[in-house]
Structure formats: structure tokens, C-alpha cells
Amino acid sequence: MAKLLLCLDGTVVKEFRLNRERFTVGRRPTNDIQIDNLAVSGEHAALLTVGGDVFVEDLDSTNGTVVNGKPTKRQLLQDGDEIIIGKYMLKFWSENAAGSDAGTDYEKTMMLRVPPAVAAAAPAPAPVAAAPRPVVAASAAAVAASAVQTGARPAEPASSPGVVKVLTGGNAGRELMLTKNLTTLGKAGVQVAVITRRPQGYFITHVEGAQTPKVNGVQIGQSARKLEEEDLIELLGVQMAFFTH
């Protein structure tokens, strides 16, 4: 479950768990988070939980709601977002970052269902804000089998871009920077090879044509070959060298 830390002057005053679909913040005592401060409107803002997402919505407050320094009307919250309301700051942490308290695998495709009674009355799913509380129909088995994902995206490809330098032919001396994920060499319809940029480095693969390119004098065949510093590529009779700067 996502949580909010209510902070004043850099000190955490209280922690709230967003255990309801709609969580309100305001000066009046009817709010889930009551902030007794004149800069805060009676009903200032609401936090709406939709599946695994939480949105903050300003309820036309007098002084507005600011997220990470920008005034907002409605916005999807991400981990560590700071919501400023008057002199107070609400720091947002989603359940995914907080650990695996729910134990639910949120990457796995799941069926979202409206409760049967409502489904009979309104088969078409209504717009989300007005919809009855959606229930994620995860089977017990699915929950038990789930594994926690590490959300880290792998590192970007090597920071020093690769270069192919043409050694022979009309373009001798020309350098081709390999800044894209895919760079093709050769002539369409005759012989084409592609150099792919991957986290592990650069690879050359045959695309079309009867001949496959040579690397250091050896035909590469149909499979991808990793390029090493100063490898010599030969394609359509033109020699090229691979470098990383």
C-alpha cells in the first residue's frame, strides 16, 4: 500500500497509509488528513488510488497544490514526489518501492473486474474515477507464485560510442559514428549488414545478400558476431575498421 509522510519544516509529523480509494487532505476535520492551517483550504486535495497508481488532484483550493515545485490540477505520483500544501509537505512512497508488502506481481498481466453485481447493471466499464472499486481478480495461485521484480533498467550501452572507419574504396577515410541502436552497412538488395548497439557492446549481423560480411578475414555466417577493438570488417570489397573512442 502506498504511503504519505506529512512533514513540516523537514520533520516527519505523521505517516498515512493510502488504504482507501479516495483520500482527502484539507483544513476541515472531515478530511483523512486534516491540516489545521489557514493556508490550507477546507477541502484542499485528494489522493486517488487506481489499481497500482496514485493520482493527486487539487480540489480547486485557494492556494493550489504543488508537486515537485510545479502547480498541478491532477497528476500521477511517482516515488519520492513531494506535494506541497500550504507550509506542509507530503512525501509520496508507492507500495512497489516500499517493498513487497502486497506480495502481488504487478508486472504480470491480470484481469481487472468489476464486482458481479455491478457488472450486471453496467457491463461496460465506466470511466475510472466514477467506477465502483475495481477488484483485481488475481487467483490465490498467481499471488503465491509471484516473484518480486527488481525494477532496475539495465545500464545504457557503453558510454564511448563505437566508430567504423572506412579504409578502402571511394569513401576511404570516412568515419561512421555508431550512435543509433542499429546502423546498416552496404547496399540494399545487394549485401547489407547491420551493427547493433547493445549493453554488452557492438555486434555485426548479416541482413541480406548472398555473401555474408567478413570480420578479420572470416565470413561471419548467419549469426551475430561481437565486434572487438580494431576488428577489420569487409563488405562488398570495402574494408572498414571498428573502434571505440
Binding site: 487506481v50 489499481g51 497500482g52 497508481d53 493520482f55 491532477r74 497528476q75 500521477l76 511517482q78 508507492s94 512497489n96 504487478y106 508486472e107 504480470k108 498481466t109 491480470m110 484481469m111 481487472l112 473486474r113 466499464p125 470511466p127 475510472v128 474515477a129 475495481p134 483485481v136 481478480a137 487467483s139 490465490a140 495461485a141 498467481a142 499471488v143 503465491a144 507464485a145 516473484a147 521484480q149 532496475a152 533498467r153 539495465p154 543509433k180 541502436n181 542499429l182 546498416t184 540494399a188 538488395g189 547489407v192 547491420v194 547493433t196 547493445r198 549493453p199 549481423t205 548479416h206 541482413v207 541480406e208
Partner: protein
């Protein structure tokens, strides 16, 4: 029966990705009959595989059977639409009944379901049936366009303006579908028809591809490698894996090599005598 192998180039690849132990996706295609089926199963243990496997088996089997008996372009008296509409809808609903029935009778399969996207190519067009968030894209004139609309919470939020496209990229709800095959006794199937042109390239994929890669990267890859479709499919799967491969990844590519107009009744009877 018409054989479309001269007009269609089809290649497909499915991969369990970097994180999952099982591959719950399933694919099936037949260039001669001109169809593609791709399914992304869900459910505990291996129930997801069971559901997507049943979907592909049932749909491929029924399409083959129906195509033997009937020409997909023939307009039906009941509604004037080509027979293909009834074929696809029938095939998907039968798959639904079969998965639902299995889930009811096998406790370990309770709650299983699957997305499905089916394409049937005939008479210079493609008829698409889909349920859930597996997609069909078309590359035409270098531009990539998604031509199915996901049945997902996120798509509904986008449609009603509750979330921006930029926010959607960070949403934790990318995996929630609002419709699936095999969850209920019956299923609503979306059908849409598109004219095809020689040079078009169609990409069927599961969300394991479309969630991991930007549309721009997919377009670049298809444009660069379209001369070698198996390599293009491999490259897409590899890129999704390099980006984390958090889900199963499936790709089916269909290249349109030339026109394939439906033959007139007399002509098709003549060629079937000769053939």
C-alpha cells in the same frame, strides 16, 4: 482454396524473457491460409500457458477447418459482411468456451485466461480480432501505427483523459486488462478490417515487447531490417530482453509481398480443378 504463400511473408518468435521461468505466450501462423494468432496467457503456475496454448490451438484449428469450407470474402446473407467476420468471432468464442470449461473443471486452472490477437488476410485486406492488450501494428511508408486498441485500464484512462500519455509510461497499471478470453462464459470480440498494400509490414506482439520498447525503436528496427524478417523479429526480442525482458516477449511479422485479390467463383473453381 487460395494459397497466400506468394503474397505473405510470415515469421514469428516467442521468448520467455529475462525474468519469468515460464513462457505464457503462444503464437501460431500459416502463410498459406493467411492467418496469425498470438496469445498472452495469465493465471497461476502454468495455467497461463494452458490458456494461451488452448487459444492458439482452437483458433488455428477452427480457422483451417472453416477456410476449407468457405471463402472468407464471400458476403453472408445474414448481415452482408464477409464470412471472415463470423469465422474469427466464432473461433475466438470457441476458444473462450474451451478455456472457461477447462478452468471450471480443473482446480489448478481456475481463473486462467488469455489475451488474443488474430489476423486473417484475404482479398487484399486483413480482418483483426482482438481481446486484451496484445497488439497489432502496421508499418506503412516508414511510419508505425498501432491499429488495435488495448482493452486495458490504462487505455480507458487515456480515453477518458484521466492520465496523459507521458504519465501512462510510468503507470503501475500497464498489466491490467479489462477483457480476456476464458474468464467468463462468453467474451466480446473486437473486429476491425483494414485494406493492405504491397510493402506493408504487420507486427503482432504481446505487451512484453510493447511495454519494453518505445514505438520509435520498434519502427527503426522494422525499417532497417525489413529485408530480413526473421532477423527483424530476433532483433526486436533481443532489444526487449536488453531493456530488462520483464515479461514474455512474442512477435509475429507479416510482410505483404504483393496483391492477393479474391478470385471470382469461376476462376477459383477452375484453378482448383487444375491444382
Amino acid at each position: 482454396m487460395v494459397n497466400l504463400t506468394q503474397a505473405l511473408d510470415i515469421t514469428g518468435l516467442t521468448d520467455s524473457g529475462q525474468v519469468r521461468e515460464h513462457n505464457e505466450d503462444a503464437i501460431g501462423f500459416d502463410a498459406a491460409d493467411g492467418f496469425v494468432v498470438l496469445a498472452d496467457g495469465m493465471g497461476g503456475y502454468n495455467a497461463g500457458e494452458v490458456a494461451s496454448g488452448i487459444a492458439v490451438e482452437v483458433i488455428a484449428h477452427l480457422l483451417r477447418e472453416m477456410l476449407l469450407k468457405n471463402a472468407p470474402e464471400r458476403a453472408l446473407q445474414a448481415h452482408g459482411q464477409p464470412a471472415a467476420y463470423d469465422m474469427l468471432e466464432h473461433a475466438v468464442r470457441q476458444a473462450n468456451a474451451s478455456i472457461y470449461g477447462t478452468a471450471q473443471s480443473q482446480p489448478q486452472c481456475a481463473g486462467m485466461g488469455t489475451t488474443v490477437v488474430v489476423g486473417l488476410y484475404f482479398d487484399n485486406r486483413v480482418l483483426v480480432a482482438h481481446v486484451g492488450d496484445s497488439r497489432l501494428y502496421r508499418l506503412r511508408g516508414g511510419a508505425l501505427e498501432q491499429i488495435t486498441r488495448d482493452h486495458s485500464l490504462l487505455q480507458e484512462q487515456l480515453d477518458s483523459g484521466l492520465i496523459t500519455a507521458e504519465e501512462a509510461r510510468h503507470s503501475a497499471n500497464r498489466n491490467l486488462v479489462t477483457r480476456a478470453v476464458g474468464i467468463d462464459p462468453d467474451v466480446a470480440v473486437d473486429l476491425s478490417e483494414f485494406e493492405t498494400q504491397p510493402g506493408d509490414l504487420y507486427l503482432f506482439c504481446s505487451d512484453g515487447l510493447s511495454d519494453m520498447l518505445e514505438d520509435g525503436d520498434i519502427a527503426d528496427t522494422l525499417n532497417t531490417l525489413r529485408a530480413n524478417l526473421p532477423l527483424a523479429a530476433e532483433q526486436l526480442v533481443q532489444m526487449a530482453n536488453d531493456a530488462g525482458g520483464r515479461d514474455n516477449i512474442s512477435v509475429v511479422l507479416v510482410g505483404i509481398k504483393r496483391d492477393y485479390p479474391a478470385q471470382s467463383g469461376l476462376w477459383s473453381r477452375l484453378t482448383s480443378w487444375l491444382g
